[in-house]
Symmetry: C2
Subunit: 200 residues, 2 copies
Amino acid sequence: MKTLGYAILGLLAQEELSGYDLMQRMKGRVGNFWSAGHSQIYPELARLEADGLVTHSVVKQQERPDKKVYETTPEGLKILREWVTEPPPANAPKDELVLKAYSVWLADPEKAAKLFRDEETKHKEQLSRYKETRSWMEHESGGDVLRPESPWFAGYAALRRGLIYEKGYVEWCRWVADSVEGKQDDSPKRKKKKVKKKGT
Amino acid sequence: MKTLGYAILGLLAQEELSGYDLMQRMKGRVGNFWSAGHSQIYPELARLEADGLVTHSVVKQQERPDKKVYETTPEGLKILREWVTEPPPANAPKDELVLKAYSVWLADPEKAAKLFRDEETKHKEQLSRYKETRSWMEHESGGDVLRPESPWFAGYAALRRGLIYEKGYVEWCRWVADSVEGKQDDSPKRKKKKVKKKGT
DNA sequence: GGTAGATATGTCAAGAGTGACATAATAAAT
DNA sequence: ATTTATTATGTCACTCTTGACATATCTACC
């Protein structure tokens, strides 16, 4: 069983979904830390069904094309439960921007500063979206986000990872951009204060 | 040109290296955010050479097998310099542990707590290694780590990403483990205080 | 002499992931 | 009517990545 299979089982364990639904969940929610296109999802669903881990029923719709709605089998839930507490293989994250930072000493400082400022902005925006989602979740769940035995906890935990990740990313981008522009704080250990931007 | 090619060029821009050397650099340093096995590196070097971006010379050694030492060509440096300031394609990081967190509500709480405690430990250890490397770099470079036009800056920038990444990872693992054990702080916005562990 | 380990370079098959191609139903707008 | 967009499902070729296989030199140890 590959990871994508467990990702699908994890989503189906919460609610019945079609392949198309799964595709949409793979952006947002889980998708922020595990994405997949529909060209991966449909074949994987077929494999899961062949292995008896999911079943599907055809739902006829008037207002849309018919769809196949999948749900986990007891066997599927069982192997998902076992997988969850298994330690994952340690593989380093791949981040092209870090690679670019590694060669930034060769680059035109102005262009480099622009790149890292732009990336900082992107990640700030992602951070804002996460914060909105957090507020929505905390309000909507009625406190269940903090109960680890509730399905609400699932999305909340992934979201918290996203919040921390993006917060760190923004901080790093700003540091690189500041450094390239010769504005960095020489003592990185001191707590940051918000610095008011002066006009150029 | 694919990313691996630029990763190799980025390393060769700092020093002449053999395929074997590159393989070792791809663990540690850059490797913490872009890894590759030798089975990728050797064919990629051949491709880069065919494209005129690197050249090699055979170095005969008495104490070891002979090796091919690669260096960038002016053309190679040029395209590397251009690539550095190009915005990278936005692709979501893949993190299997976040996926497991997503389904942790199904799992045995004790096993789940152990998993996230163990991961917390792993990332704490990685954080310690990074901190040691930082001290070494700051001392060894004579302050050049903070000069963006110095090659020292390269490794230092990647390292700082690692420090922030691991710090956030540890924080998140602890939060998940605490939550699963029913020990989490109910107001996530309050600054954390160190909590002394009581005996079970 | 044998063998284990690091250095050194390569190939190959299989798996995972991406992007394009392909089809079709329905709704809404033109 | 025709086009466009969304929903819905699928395949295929290509690329990227991993792990196994393969070979060879030199050192160090037994």
